[in-house]
C-alpha cells in the first residue's frame, strides 16, 4: 500500500518588540527569573491589558507577507485553561475574528514552486515557563513568568504538506519570511520559534483522514524531521496492519527518539473561548493597509532579484545568500564597505556557510561584515594574496581580529615593492641558470618554475603579478 503523509504546522513565533504584548515589561530572553514581571503579566486582581502597537503591526505585516486576507475588524478572545505558567488561567488570543486568513507560503521543491495554504495568522500572548527542579524525586515545580505576555504570532497552515522535504522547505521558508519581515529573531534554541506538527497518512487521492496526530515539544528543525520520520513509520506500520492510528496529541521525546501520547482527542480540552472584554476591536482601514503594504520590508525573492540585477551576482549565489535575512544582511553590509560582491559572495559561500547552521547565526560570528570586507579589500589592493587570506581567515573566525592586524603580526604582508623583489629575482636567476636559459630559448613554461622558487624564498608573500613581470623583464635583459 503506497501511503503519503498529510502534514500541517502550527508555528508560534515570538515577535521582536521591546516590551510584552499587553504591558510595558521587557521582552527579553535570559534575564533572572521573575524580574520582567508586573501586576499585568502576573495576572494580579483588577489589572488590565493594553495592546502593544508594534506587536500588532508586526503581526499585520507578517499576515500580509503570507498573502492573508486581513480582517477589517479583528478582535481578541480568551482561551480558558488552567496551567501554572499561565497566570490568569486564560490566554488572550484570537478566535472569532482573527487577524489574517486564507494565505499561503510558496516553497520550492526540486526547482518547482508549491503553495502551502495558511489557514490563519493570529496574535496572542506567550505563557511563562515551568522549571522542573534538578533534585531527583522532587514533587514540585517552579514558575518563571518573564516570558508570560511576550507577543506571540501563531501561524496555522493547512494540511497541504506531503513529504519530509516539503516540511523542511516550509520550515525554512517560514523562518526566512519571519526574518525578512523583521518580525522575529527565530531563535529556536531560545524558543522564539516553535513548531508543532500534525500528521496523518492516506492513500494519494483519498480525502483527508479522519484522525490526526499532533506532535508538540519539538525543540529544533532536526527534531521536527525526526518526529516526522518516526510518525510516518509508526502510522504506516499501523495502517499496514489494518489498524487506524488514534487521534491524539503527543509529545516528542528527543532522547528516546519517539512520540508519547499526551492526551487522546476524546478528552479534548474545552477552551470556552469568548470575546475579551478588556480589549477593544482593531479596525484596519484602507489607509492603514496601504501604509502597511508600503512599509513591507523587501522579501526574499525581491532581494534575490536585486542581488542579481544590481550587484551582478549569479542567480545561484543570490539564492543562497538570501535564504536567510541575517545572511543577506551580512553580505550586503560587507558589500557596502567594499564593492566587490562576487568576491564577498565567494568568501561567504565557501568559508562562512561551513560554520553557519541552526545553532550559529551570522550575528553570532566574530567575523563581522567589516572584517570580511577588509579582507577582500586587501586581496583586491594587492596587499595580500588569496592564499594568505585563506591562512588568515581561521584566525579571524576564532578571534574576531581585523585581517590587517593578523597579517602584520604574522609578517604576511605581500611584497609589492619592486626593489625588494628585484634582488630575489636576481638570486633565483643566478641559482637556476638552466631554467633561465630554457625560458630565454622560448620555453615560456620555465617562467613558472622561477616564479615558484621566488615565492618560496618570500614565503609566499611576493605579489605574483609583479614577480612575473620582473622575472620576464630581467630575463629578456630589458
Amino acid at each position: 500500500m503506497e501511503l503519503e503523509p498529510v502534514i500541517g504546522f502550527e508555528v508560534h513565533s515570538e515577535l521582536k518588540t521591546k516590551t510584552k504584548v499587553f504591558c510595558g515589561c521587557k521582552n527579553a530572553f535570559g534575564d533572572p527569573p521573575n524580574t520582567n514581571v508586573c501586576p499585568v503579566c502576573l495576572g494580579m486582581p483588577g489589572v488590565l491589558p493594553v495592546l502593544n502597537r508594534r506587536a500588532f503591526e508586526l503581526a499585520l505585516r507578517t499576515a500580509i507577507a503570507l498573502h492573508c486576507e486581513i480582517s477589517e475588524r479583528t478582535t481578541f478572545d480568551r482561551k480558558n485553561y488552567y496551567y501554572p505558567d499561565l497566570p490568569k488561567n486564560y490566554q488572550i488570543s484570537q478566535q472569532y475574528a482573527v487577524l489574517g486568513r486564507r494565505g499561503y507560503l510558496e516553497i520550492e521543491i526540486n526547482g518547482q514552486t508549491r503553495r502551502v495554504g495558511i489557514n490563519n495568522v493570529h496574535l496572542e500572548e506567550d505563557a511563562g515557563k515551568n522549571v522542573h527542579p534538578e533534585t531527583a524525586g522532587a514533587r514540585y515545580s517552579l514558575v518563571d513568568l518573564n516570558r508570560a505576555g511576550v507577543p506571540l504570532l501563531e501561524i496555522v497552515s493547512e494540511p497541504d504538506i506531503r513529504s519530509r522535504d516539503e516540511a523542511e522547505a516550509y520550515m525554512h521558508g517560514l523562518r526566512s519570511l519571519l526574518q525578512y519581515c523583521d518580525a522575529s529573531d527565530c531563535k529556536m534554541q531560545e524558543g522564539s520559534l516553535r513548531y508543532e506538527l500534525n500528521i496523518s497518512m492516506r492513500r494519494p487521492g483519498d480525502p483527508l483522514p479522519d484522525y490526526r496526530v499532533e506532535v508538540k515539544n519539538l525543540a529544533s528543525m532536526k527534531s521536527v524531521l525526526r518526529a516526522l520520520d518516526y510518525e510516518i513509520r509508526r502510522q504506516t506500520r499501523l495502517l499496514e496492519e489494518g489498524r487506524k492510528p488514534a487521534r491524539e496529541t503527543a509529545l516528542w521525546d528527543d532522547a528516546a527518539g519517539e512520540t508519547r501520547t499526551m492526551r487522546s482527542k476524546e478528552g479534548a480540552q474545552d477552551y470556552r473561548y469568548f470575546p475579551e472584554p478588556d480589549l477593544v476591536e482593531v479596525h484596519i482601514d484602507r489607509a492603514w493597509m496601504e501604509r502597511a503594504r508600503a512599509e513591507l520590508p523587501e522579501l526574499q525573492h525581491q532581494r534575490c532579484k536585486r542581488f542579481v540585477e544590481q550587484l551582478g551576482l549569479p542567480e545561484y549565489d543570490a539564492r543562497i545568500l538570501t535564504q536567510s535575512r541575517p545572511l543577506a544582511d551580512y553580505f550586503e553590509a560587507a558589500v557596502r564597505l567594499h564593492n566587490n560582491p562576487k568576491a564577498i559572495s565567494n568568501w561567504i559561500m565557501t568559508e562562512l556557510l561551513r560554520v553557519l547552521g541552526e545553532e550559529v547565526e551570522p550575528d553570532d560570528l566574530k567575523v563581522r561584515p567589516s572584517h570580511l570586507a577588509r579582507l577582500v579589500g586587501m586581496i583586491d589592493s594587492g596587499a595580500i594574496s588569496g592564499k594568505i587570506a585563506k591562512q588568515v581567515f581561521p584566525d579571524m573566525l576564532e578571534t574576531g581580529r581585523m585581517p590587517d592586524e593578523i597579517v602584520r603580526e604574522k609578517g604576511l604582508v605581500q611584497i609589492s615593492d619592486t626593489s625588494a623583489l628585484e634582488s630575489v629575482v636576481a638570486e633565483v636567476i643566478a641559482e637556476n641558470p638552466d631554467v633561465a636559459e630554457d625560458y630565454r630559448a622560448g620555453k615560456d613554461k620555465a617562467l613558472g618554475r622561477l616564479v615558484g622558487q621566488a615565492m618560496k624564498k618570500t614565503r609566499g608573500q611576493a605579489n605574483p603579478q609583479l614577480l612575473n613581470e620582473l622575472l620576464r623583464k630581467t630575463l629578456r635583459g630589458e
Partner: protein, 489 residues
C-alpha cells in the same frame, strides 16, 4: 451638626478657609466608626493611622495653598474590591484574605492626587456577587435604618458607611446595580457612570464588560464632585473612553424646564411594592411640577434583562476568577500532592457558595455545545436591550424608575433562593447591559414600625450624559427633604 455628618460641599470651603482641619474632621469620622462599627459592620478594615497621616498631609496642602481640590482633606471610604497599594484588598473573599496589592487602582491614585483621606475599605458581597452584602466571607453589614435589614449589595459597606456618617463619601462598583440598589436601600445617592467613563484599572473584575466604579454621597452635588476627580480616560484601561469630561459641578442647576422624563411602563408591574410605586410616581409628578414633561415610554425587553445578565456576567466572572488558584498570590490549600488537587481544594475552600454558583453557571454557559444557546444568545438579547434605550432616548432625555422593587429586605430573607435574590436587581441591571449611566437618590420612605426605610428613585440617561442625571437629580433633591433625614442609631 457633627462634622462627620456634613457634605463635601459644606466641608470643602471650611477646610480651604482653614476654619477646620482635615485631622479634626478625620478624627470625628474615626470616632463615629469606632462607635458604630460593632453594630453596622460597614468596614472590613479601617486605615486609622494612614487616614491621620493623609489628613496631616492634606492640612499641609491647605497651609501651602497648593494642590487644593474640593476633595482635599475629605474622609472617603473605598469598597474593598479597589486595589490599594500596600493595604490589603480582599474582595470580602477568603481567597484574597492576605493579598496586598503592589499597585493602586487608578481611581485610588486619582483620589490620592486630589488629597482625599482614606478611612477604610468597606464590606461587599464576595467579589461583588450579590445584592445584600450577605455573601461577604467576613461579616454581614447592617442597614443603618434598620439593623435587622440588609444594606443592599454588593457595595453595601460603602452605602451603609455613607448613610451612617462613617465617612463623607465613598466609592463602590456597579455591575448589575451594586451601587444604586444599596444607595436606594440606605437612603443615599449613588451613581453608576457610563461604561468607560471611569477607569476600571485596579477594580477587581467581576464582569468586565459591565463593571463600573462610581461614587456614593450624601447629596447629588457630592457625587458630582467625586466624579470630577475620578472620571476620564486612563491609558491603563483600554475600555476607558476618550470623551472629554465636563465639569459636573456646573451641571448642578436647579432647573428641569423642558426636559422630558420617560416613565417606562415595564417597570411598574407585579412585584413592585405599592409604597415604592407611590414614591416614584410622586417623584415624577414633582419633577413635572418643576417644569419637566413626563412621557410614558416602553422598554419592551425589560423582562429579559435579568436572564441576560445572569448569563453574561457569570460567563465573564468564570474567566475573571480563574486566576485565584493559589499559585501567585492569595490563599492556597496546604499539603496538596499535585497541582490539580491544589487548584480544586484552594478554590473549594477559598470561594463562597454564591461565587462558586456563578463560576459554575458561567463555565456552563461558555462550554462546548452551550455557547450559542446561552452565552451568544444573551449577547444578542443585550443588543435588543441596548436598542430599547436608544429608541426610548429619542422620546425623552432621562428615564425615571424605581431603583428596586422593594425597600431593604430582612437579612436572611433571600439567601436560600438565588433567583429571588437576583430579581432584586431587576430594575438596575439594564443600565449595565446597555452601558448607560444611572443614579439612585432618595425619594421617600416606606413604613416599617419605628424604622422607616428609604426608597430610591433611579434616573437613567444616554451614554455620557451624567450631566443630565446630575441636573435632574439635583433639581429634585433641592425641592425635597428626603436626603436630609438621618437614620437613628
Amino acid at each position: 451638626m457633627h462634622l462627620n455628618e456634613q457634605t463635601i460641599t459644606q466641608l470643602a470651603p471650611l477646610l480651604q478657609a482653614r476654619k477646620l482641619s482635615s485631622v479634626e474632621l478625620t478624627r470625628s469620622v474615626l470616632e463615629r466608626i469606632r462607635a458604630l462599627e460593632p453594630r453596622v459592620r460597614a468596614y472590613l478594615s479601617v486605615m486609622e493611622t494612614q487616614a491621620l497621616h493623609m489628613a496631616e498631609e492634606a492640612d499641609r496642602r491647605f497651609k501651602r495653598g497648593e494642590n487644593v481640590t474640593p476633595l482635599t482633606g475629605i474622609p472617603v471610604a473605598l469598597k474593598d474590591n479597589l486595589c490599594t497599594q500596600g493595604w490589603p484588598t480582599t474582595c470580602a473573599s477568603k481567597i484574597l484574605q492576605n493579598f496586598v496589592p503592589p499597585y493602586d487602582a487608578t481611581v485610588v491614585a486619582r483620589l490620592k492626587d486630589a488629597g482625599a483621606v482614606f478611612v477604610g475599605k468597606t464590606n461587599l458581597d464576595e467579589f461583588a456577587m450579590g445584592s445584600s452584602t450577605e455573601n461577604s466571607a467576613f461579616q454581614v453589614t447592617a442597614n443603618p435604618w434598620d439593623l435587622e435589614r440588609v444594606p443592599g449589595g454588593s457595595s453595601g459597606g460603602s452605602a451603609a458607611a455613607v448613610a451612617a456618617d462613617e465617612c463623607i463619601a465613598a466609592l463602590g462598583s456597579d455591575t448589575g446595580g451594586s451601587i444604586r440598589q444599596p444607595a436606594g436601600f440606605c437612603g443615599v445617592v449613588g451613581l453608576k457612570p457610563t461604561y468607560g467613563r471611569v477607569s476600571r484599572y485596579g477594580l477587581v473584575a467581576f464582569a468586565s464588560s459591565l463593571d463600573q466604579i462610581g461614587p456614593f454621597g450624601k447629596t447629588v452635588a457630592d457625587c458630582a464632585l467625586v466624579m470630577n476627580c475620578i472620571a476620564g480616560r486612563d491609558p491603563a484601561d483600554s475600555t476607558s473612553a476618550s470623551v472629554a469630561v465636563p465639569d459636573y459641578a456646573s451641571a448642578l442647576r436647579a432647573d428641569v424646564k423642558g426636559l422630558r422624563i420617560g416613565v417606562p411602563k415595564e417597570y411598574f408591574v407585579e412585584g413592585l411594592s405599592r409604597e415604592v410605586e407611590t414614591a416614584v410616581r410622586g417623584a415624577v409628578a414633582r419633577l413635572a411640577e418643576l417644569g419637566a414633561e413626563a412621557v410614558e415610554i416602553s422598554l419592551p425587553h425589560t423582562p429579559y434583562a435579568v436572564a441576560t445578565y445572569y448569563l453574561c456576567a457569570p460567563a465573564e466572572a468564570s474567566s475573571n476568577l480563574a486566576r485565584y488558584d493559589g499559585v501567585h498570590y492569595g490563599y492556597r490549600a496546604a499539603d496538596q500532592d499535585n497541582i490539580i488537587d491544589m487548584y480544586t481544594r484552594t478554590r473549594h475552600d477559598g470561594f463562597g457558595t454564591e461565587v462558586k454558583r456563578r463560576i459554575m453557571l458561567g463555565t456552563y454557559a461558555l462550554s462546548a455545545g452551550y455557547y450559542d444557546a446561552y452565552y451568544l444568545k444573551a449577547l444578542k438579547v443585550r443588543t435588543l436591550i441596548k436598542r430599547d434605550f436608544e429608541q426610548a432616548f429619542e422620546l425623552c432625555d432621562v428615564i425615571a424608575t424605581p431603583t428596586s422593587p422593594t425597600p431593604a429586605f430582612r437579612a436572611g430573607e433571600k439567601t436560600g433562593d438565588p433567583i429571588q435574590m437576583y430579581l432584586s436587581d431587576i430594575f438596575t441591571i439594564s443600565a449595565n447591559l446597555a452601558g448607560i449611566p444611572a443614579i439612585s437618590l432618595p425619594c421617600g420612605f416606606a413604613q416599617n414600625g419605628g424604622h422607616p426605610l428609604p426608597i430610591g428613585l433611579q434616573l437613567i440617561a444616554p451614554v455620557f450624559r451624567e450631566d443630565t442625571l446630575f441636573r435632574v437629580a439635583h433639581t429634585y433633591e433641592q425641592a425635597t427633604d428626603f436626603h436630609k433625614k438621618k437614620p437613628t442609631l
